[in-house]
């Protein structure tokens, strides 16, 4: 079942003297439970596409429907609520909240959703167990390595059981072990909780785990293939 539909999407940035056409007529459908990597050279429009799917940016032309809802028609406030209840974000630069501990960072989104305290506690414990970070529960991000911070960032994105996880170059700064742990967790969530994952990546290790690879070049889809995994 297609849950994300990109229908002839264009994105042109006009802030500079010469307009930049970041995305040029992309039409793609993503099914529920997919584990998809969007690949391509730098500047090909991967991040722009992810941002538009996440409602952080709006297409210049075309429609993005998520579970049948045209998100370009949502207000700023509706988009925030939409992201809160449906999308988990993982950023390349971790972007944890520095004044919160590991536990508090993971609980952050669940607290915005006013989840039950016991449920939050169980979820935090489960995720940290999976990420092998139970001993870092009360540590603030600045005392963690890059790999550990990204694991917490992924736990934060997965904590509230989002339907979709959008990860922008999540492994770009990580070593092999950290990458392995993260991909393992995401694969588990994809399988157990049917979360739909979309990565933008250059990382072969991520591509090796993906079940579908969409290749972009100059803002256009130049390849779209199932990997057979």
């Amino acid at each position: 079942m297609t849950v994300i539909e990109l229908d002839d999407i264009y994105k042109t940035y006009t802030e500079s003297v010469v307009p930049v056409h970041a995305v040029n007529g992309v039409s793609v459908g993503i099914d529920k439970g997919e584990f998809t990597a969007i690949v391509g050279p730098s500047g090909c429009g991967k991040t722009t596409l992810l941002n538009m799917i996440g409602g952080l940016d709006a297409p210049t032309k075309g429609k993005i429907r998520i579970e049948g809802e045209d998100i370009s028609r949502l207000s700023d406030k509706q988009l925030v609520d939409f992201r809160l209840h449906n999308i988990g974000f993982v950023f390349q630069a971790y972007n944890l909240i520095p004044v919160l501990t590991v536990r508090e960072n993971i609980r952050f989104i669940m607290e915005l959703e006013h989840r039950d305290s016991k449920e939050m506690q169980q979820r935090v414990e489960y995720l940290l167990e999976k990420l092998d970070m139970k001993d870092k529960l009360n540590v603030r991000p600045k005392y963690l390595s890059g790999g550990q911070q990204q694991r917490v960032a992924v736990a934060r994105a997965l904590a509230s059981h989002p339907k979709f996880v959008l990860a922008d170059e999540p492994t770009a700064n990580l070593d092999s072990h950290a990458t392995e742990v993260l991909l393992e967790l995401m694969a588990t969530m994809n399988k157990e909780e049917e979360m739909t994952f979309i990565f933008s990546t250059h990382d072969q290790r991520v591509m090796d785990k993906a079940r579908r690879i969409i290749t972009l070049e100059d803002g256009k889809v130049v390849g779209d293939a199932k990997t057979g995994i």
Binding site: G54, L56, D57, V80, F91, I97, V99, L100, F108, L112
Partner: protein
């Protein structure tokens, strides 16, 4: 709510030095503002108290027209009706009759114009504790044939206790008023003008001097609750025939002092305004920096599901914390200092003291611990802190998430 408070509090201490400097600026402003207002209000209260106790009372009742024409001919007979009205009013704590007129006082070759005030010594003493102000001799006793004289007059006329003072003037309906009295005591009041102008006689003797038996020129009233002064004035006006009586508050009776306080108060408010502007810019600078340097973090929070309004609350709490820390520490330090100066008023010396005396004021500056001062300054500084956060709050409402995320 707990999450907002926790985040705000922790955000505040991300840059301890900057937060402490901002809190210190609020602290200093509150300390200065509270101390300044406390000393001002304390001085005004002292001025008012002196004026009220030694001169007018909070309220005075005259025969109609006396305020505009302060002649003994505009005096009245205090009957049972007035007594019953005053007794019936629950806010009147003391009513003191006086008979006042001007005469020439002389001793030896010197003569001076003075105000003779006929008093019931016991009642007058309750009102202003004159007996405690007698520096030589002793206080009047009712019926005793002596007078009390201010040290300024005594010095001018070269009088000592036991000497005789001659009084000559005009009594009721033009009758010549002339008599001589021994000086029973010499007093010294905080108001220098009173020492140079006042002579006290017992009411009995004053009535005899002015040939005004049973007459009174004013009834001065003290109140249980001075804050209800105006309501009491209205009650008395309703109870008394307005064609026969006039009921006035001390502000009307002593317009000079009222204007003096209003003028000085306005100067104080201008100083406070300047102080507040300085605080506002200090807090504004900090809040703006705290907002701008975290724009990426804010963008991430919005991206993962936090509303801009929730972020604004977060920022608002940060401002509130800075304001509260500054205000509470400022008040905490100011309180003991002001308590000390309430008990031991600042004594004005030198030229400044002479100026105070010239204006009829006691040359001291006691502090006031009126809670209104602290609450008022606290609320003002709090509102200023809030106003300083308006621009950062507006920024939160309109900044571009993507631009900030790319930083």
């Amino acid at each position: 709510m707990r999450q907002y408070l926790k985040l705000s509090w922790r955000n505040l201490w991300r840059n301890k030095r900057r937060t402490l400097i901002t809190v210190a600026s609020v602290f200093l402003a509150v300390l200065l503002a509270v101390c300044m207002r406390s000393l001002q209000k304390g001085t005004y209260a002292n001025m008012t108290s002196n004026a009220v106790r030694f001169s007018t009372g909070y309220i005075q009742i005259h025969a109609k027209g006396y305020q505009d024409n302060r002649s003994i001919n505009n005096s009245f007979e205090k009957g049972e009706m007035l007594d019953s009205v005053l007794t019936a009013n629950s806010n009147v704590s003391l009513s003191v009759p006086r008979l006042e007129s001007f005469v020439l006082a002389s001793s030896g070759n010197h003569t001076k114009g003075v105000q003779v005030t006929g008093i019931i010594p016991e009642l007058e003493n309750k009102m202003n504790n004159i007996s405690g102000r007698v520096t030589d001799g002793h206080y009047l006793t009712d019926g005793y044939d002596g007078l009390l004289v201010g040290d300024g007059i005594a010095n001018y006329l070269g009088l000592r206790v036991g000497d005789t003072m001659v009084l000559l003037g005009q009594g009721y309906h033009g009758i010549t008023a002339a008599a001589q009295f021994p000086v029973t005591g010499i007093f010294h009041f905080p108001d220098g003008r009173m020492n140079n102008a006042l002579v006290y006689l017992s009411l009995h003797n004053a009535r005899n001097l002015f040939a005004a038996p049973d007459l009174t020129t004013s009834m001065s009233l003290l109140l249980h609750d001075p804050a209800r002064q105006q309501a009491t004035v209205e009650q008395l006006r309703q109870a008394l025939d307005s064609n026969q009586w006039e009921v006035l508050n001390w502000q009307t009776l002593n317009k000079e002092l009222t204007q003096e306080i209003a003028g000085d108060n306005a100067g104080g408010i201008i100083m406070l305004f300047i102080l507040y502007v300085v605080i506002a810019f200090g807090v504004f600078g900090t809040m703006l920096m705290m907002t701008m340097e975290r724009s990426k973090e804010f963008a991430v929070m919005i991206a993962i599901g936090m509303r801009r309004s929730q972020l604004a609350i977060l920022l608002f709490f940060e401002t509130v914390f800075i304001g509260l820390l500054g205000i509470s520490s400022g008040v905490a330090v100011a309180l003991p200092v002001l308590l000390y100066f309430k008990i031991n008023p600042v004594k004005i010396t030198g030229t400044a003291a002479e100026m105070f005396i010239q204006f009829g004021l006691e040359p001291i500056m006691p502090a006031s611990l009126d809670p209104y001062i602290f609450v008022n300054q606290g609320i003002t500084v709090f509102l200023i802190s809030f106003a300083a956060s308006i621009y950062p709050l507006m920024y939160i409402g309109r900044f571009k998430i993507l631009g900030a995320l790319k930083k």
